[in-house]
Symmetry: C2
Subunit: 230 residues, 2 copies
């Protein structure tokens, strides 16, 4: 009946109510700009909800360590992952007062949590801050538009594009350690896990990639992936 994606039940749990607290250990990413100094690092456990769609948007977020997914769900449980965020990536900056998507930790991670109100107040005085908010939001928009292009492609093209994106963002070279599950990948690409798995197998059989373990992928023929990426 449904074209793609899978049915999920409601988020597991949620312990955001305890609020930001200083982290025990030093994060791998060090904040530098004035906005980030206004935040507190906060650890999230694997699968933990960071915020929910339609919730009051009280904070901005920046990944310090680990990986975060944002997603929207349809009534019947189909899930679309909007983006994966890695160390250094900012997320949750809708200008409205409600979050337009939910966010969850993928694996244990550390997130810089920044109260919005003082930042928005600062932006009213400091045009660099205002410009920064705008720029970040605009690049999210650009990313979303690019993601829409993924969703009209064939399965091979989607997976190829995904691998190239992950290689670029996670390693810079051709060895990818994926932090997310096949289900996450499938819901990001608008495919089923079976199709993702089969497509990876095809690529491996064509010697385009190696898959030593399911979470580890090595790109052997970048050109082939680039060609598929249109």
């Amino acid at each position: 009946m449904f074209t793609q994606t899978t049915v999920h039940q409601a988020p597991l749990h949620k312990s955001f109510e305890r609020g930001p607290q200083l982290p025990a250990s030093k994060p791998s990413y060090l904040p530098k700009n004035p906005i980030e100094l206004m935040g507190a690092a906060m650890p999230f456990k694997s699968g933990e909800e960071i915020y929910g769609e339609k919730e009051q948007a009280e904070y901005f977020y920046k990944v310090l360590d680990g990986c975060v997914r944002t997603y929207k769900m349809l009534n019947d449980g189909r899930r679309q992952i909007g983006a994966f965020y890695f160390a250094g990536d900012t997320f949750g900056l809708e200008a409205g007062d409600e979050h337009t998507a939910s966010a969850e930790a993928i694996g244990d991670c550390k997130v810089l949590v920044i109260k919005r109100s003082p930042v928005v107040a600062l932006a009213a005085r400091n045009s660099d801050v205002a410009r920064h908010l705008w720029t970040l939001t605009a690049s999210e928009l650009s990313r979303a538009q690019e993601h829409m292009m993924l969703l009209i492609k064939t399965a091979q093209e989607r997976v190829a594009g995904f691998l190239l994106d992950m290689a670029r963002r996670l390693s810079g070279n051709d060895e990818i350690d994926l932090p997310m599950s096949r289900q996450d990948i499938a819901d990001y690409l608008g495919l089923t896990i079976e199709t993702v798995s089969r497509t990876l197998t095809q690529f491996e059989q064509a010697a385009t990639i190696s898959v030593p373990t399911s979470r580890r992928i090595i790109v052997r023929r970048r050109g082939t992936l680039l060609r598929l990426n249109s």
Copy 2:
């Protein structure tokens, strides 16, 4: 071979180089805020390109009258329409210096063309203007996220969602006069024209809508569409 969308050739023509000029006739929409006073109304003919992807983004745009589509194309000609803009809608406000999509007139239309540099300069001094830029961009982001949700639905759900959106934005009641072709609708929904046409026929046979002419659609059972819209 391709999952959806159709192959198109390059944009027809382009006469933006002549630059903004005052319109002969009065537009139906009257600008009021300081930003809009910085612009000039400009007519575009049906199908005319307003700007192209990757072009230097020198202007912001606001539809005064008629309808505009923005789109991105893949190398092989598959086209994804990112949005339709109607009178009162602003478009083309990427924060970067290049347009991330192309824009074309759907039918003859009038567009307010606003030079970016003075607006950006004004935003540096006037926080309301800065906030406005941010807010508009964020609502575009939200719209793009919602559009992604459309692209993972079934054909019936996509068409139902599209009709509800058009009814709301174009008429407010249940009588829709579509400004765009079936091909535009198909490329917006990530379907083929045949599937769009067949789905409309199904809805008509189920007495959910009437289609007196191909460009005119009357919603008879909004509830049915709402239910499909998930």
